[in-house]
Amino acid sequence: MILEPVLTSAPDWAVRHAAVLVVVVPMLLAPLLALSPSNRLAWILTVAGTAAAFWFSLILLAIIQEVPGSAISYALGNWEPPIGIEFRVDALNAMILVLITGMGALASFIAWPTLAAEFKGERLNLLLCAFLLCFAGLAGVAATGDAFNLFVFLEVSSLATYVLVAMGAGKDRRALPAAFSYLVMGTLGASFYVIGIGLLYAATGTLNMADIAEQMPGLSGNRSVQAGLAFILVGLGLKAAMWPLHQWLPNAYAYAPGFVSMFLSATATKVALYSLIRWLFTIFQPDLAFESAVLQWVLAPLAMAAMVICSVQAIFQTDVRRMLAYSSVAQVGYILLAISVGTAAGVSAGLLHLFTHALMKGALFMAVAGICFAYQGSTIRDFAGLGRSAPFTMAAFAIAGLSLIGVPLTAGFISKLQLGYALLDQGWWWAAVVLVFASFLSVIYIGRVLQAVFFEPPLNPRKNNKEAPLLLLIPLWILALVNIFYGIDAGFPAGLAADGAAAALGLGAAQ
């Protein structure tokens, strides 16, 4: 095990309470930030909080990997589940936790250089406080084993996100309507989710996920359970930007402050997708006739529509950040398509793509954040000639872009290949056709930017020679190199995804 040293070096209290500390530490740090006297101290605390959370999630993962198929159950306040709130971490959410805390740590790292440029001289500690709350909320969604508690954490993170998106208004006033539309759509999603839980609570009398799952086989024909599934699917679908519920996403990503876009693109929809997997496979069983119909006739067509339509929309964007945002919706489609196959191979491919997409889209948004504050512009024309004036930033951008296309020797290739196998294994050749076609569309939209960057003369030669600052280049290149490394040896993420899928489907998991 690679993670063995993490476990052996961790102190006893950290190992015992890691499941809750991963949420509690950033959540308690957030109000402290609001009181922080200086911006720099606030930023250092943010980095410390996210890094600590990352460490705790690595510990969790190491514990899970010690005994394959195991799960950590943590009873909050010693109230035993199903009465009390339970944090339950198995191979599936351990992987998600590592992903979001890792990306969160990188995002907080680049917060300083980008924010210092975007908000000259303003007080940033409140903004960082919102960021840390959002981070804690997302970690909570991933860690909790309680259906209602999940809703609470979802709202914590969403409310913080609305604030974060609106903060982009200093640079571009369009951030305000973007935040407002996100607020409306996000609230709708949360309401749908709560209604769904209410219906399930009426049928089962419990809010603990594992407990609901146990009762599910006896309730296969129950109408309120079916309605509950529908409500939850729509609610989480809104949060995950499932087509056609994605309208809030492009503007929110395009106008938020740079590091917020990077953080959200790598984590927010991913957490919603994780909850969707949890609900669809661990709690409801896919062998219920009703659910398999939902997977094949609702989820798969919507996913394919997203892959094609949003990729085409991405081609026609002039703003690089909006283009990346539309591409994100399309990539959510890939993940949903993989999930809708419903087999272990499919869910595993979906999780792998979720993982690799966070890596590549995080790197892309990070590079754009580094460029945009240096150049004050994010249209494709602004990117012309940057290959010469900012070679390091743009080389990393190119690597991540190739990974997004799915070029061999990048992580994106491996996950798309796995997805293709999962589809063809089920005989879904029509879906595989859509998969390769959508990949081809991504060649076009990424190619447009890369061509401008490397082969066109700069629009305004005076603004030359501005590489992104070192604090941003380091995490950027970490992500870019990880993209390449996992394209060559994908054993680690593929293993995580396979274990996660097994845990989600209850295969070999010690329930």
Binding site: V407, Y421, F440, V443, I444, G447, D489, G491
Partner: protein
Amino acid sequence: MTPQLLIAAALCLPLLVAVSVALFGKVPTLREGVTIAGAVALFAVVIQLTLLVAGGARPELYIGETVPGLAIAFKLEPLGALFALVASGLWIVNSFYSIGYMRGNRERNQTRFYIWFALALSGAMGVAMAGNLFTLFIFYEVLTLSTYPLVAHKGDAAAQRGARTYLLTLLGTSICFFLMAIMWTWVVAGQRLDFIEGGLLADAGLSPFVSSALLVLFVFGVGKAALMPFHFWLPSAMVAPTPVSALLHAVAVVKAGVFTVMKISVYIFGFDLLQATPARDVLLGVAGFTIIAASLIALRQDNLKARLAYSTIAQLAYVTLGALLAVEAGALGGSLQIAAHAAAKITLFMCAGAIYVATGLTTVSSMQGLGRKMPLVFTAFLIASFSIIGLPPFGGMWPKYELLQGAADASTAWIPAVLIVSALLNIAYLLPVAILGLMPLPGTPPAKEFKRPGGAPVLTVAAPLFTAALCVVLFMAAGPIGDFLRPAFAAGSVPGLEDLR
């Protein structure tokens, strides 16, 4: 050196060249010296490997699995050795030629040019030595991406447009069809992608429909084979500097394509399955159509490089045809064509480049009588034209002979007719260039003075003369090459070259 080390060296030497070129970019002589030294070293390594293969060994190198079931592995067999030998050997000649051309033409960004050129060679070596479809696909795409900056080298609008067509066609076909076919193969072959003698899919029990669909996806997915209607990227790629057209778009890239088709025919399908696949007959027809149609289009091109590009499309379809015939003589003919066409077509391109450097002329009509001023270049052009047409004593004869033999074995009566018509068309579009150059019609105004004082640089004349001589050598060496290749098509005992000796 152990076989593993040799394969690793063949893959890494071009990378090493790329890095050194980047380091020595400021000193042109050193930069180009490094390229040539690397090319010679690579050729030596490939010869070593070829000798091993000729001795019956199959050198292997196993890197590891990216995810379970998808291994990066290399295994050299006769076909790959031949392709590697051709690509690496001609790289040496082409490097000398590049020096003359790029300097003589005062091209910009020469360091970038040499870097990407070396990377492209690394891709070609990977394709040649790949041990499974997954590895082959990786290097196939490396080759696509590394040649894109070379096509776009000039950087003007025309170069960008051409390069975009180039990239979109090659990436599009490979992602939409080739990758799809690979994933499908993985599923039906029981999660394996290895190249296996006799065919990976031979015992998979595929229905005719599935095998047909797979074959169509493979043959069109390998866009580098330039089978119509996915051929238009090749004329687009002619905006590249001529050394690129010469080595990459007459040898490395396009040959990687047809080589891949050949590998798929021999090691993925196997001859028996291929013969039983209904779509094969249709695809044979497409290949035949490509041969004739591309030759007819070539006839109408006045731009010399465009004419050569269409000629390449036609000549590549010979290899595809040979691969699809699924008999030993056909596959042998196709493989010989890889070598013979490479030597001849690189000569033609290098001549075109030499003419361009000296005079700035690009159209055939403006070259009448130019042979009087550049007799060596036009002689080399004439010899290579003979080889393409298939006249003895030039290397281009044997592939056609073997293909005719294969067509007879596969009892397809129309193929000989296609080959004969194609030979006549070759005469019609190639010979006038050289003959009117050397012996202009009465009344043609004498050729103008050279644009570049002193005419073509020595290196740009010596290189095509050398490769023209190679065409003759290939005629003599066809027997040993055939013996070397034959173990690759183990099955069947169809009479081949040995009756001729």
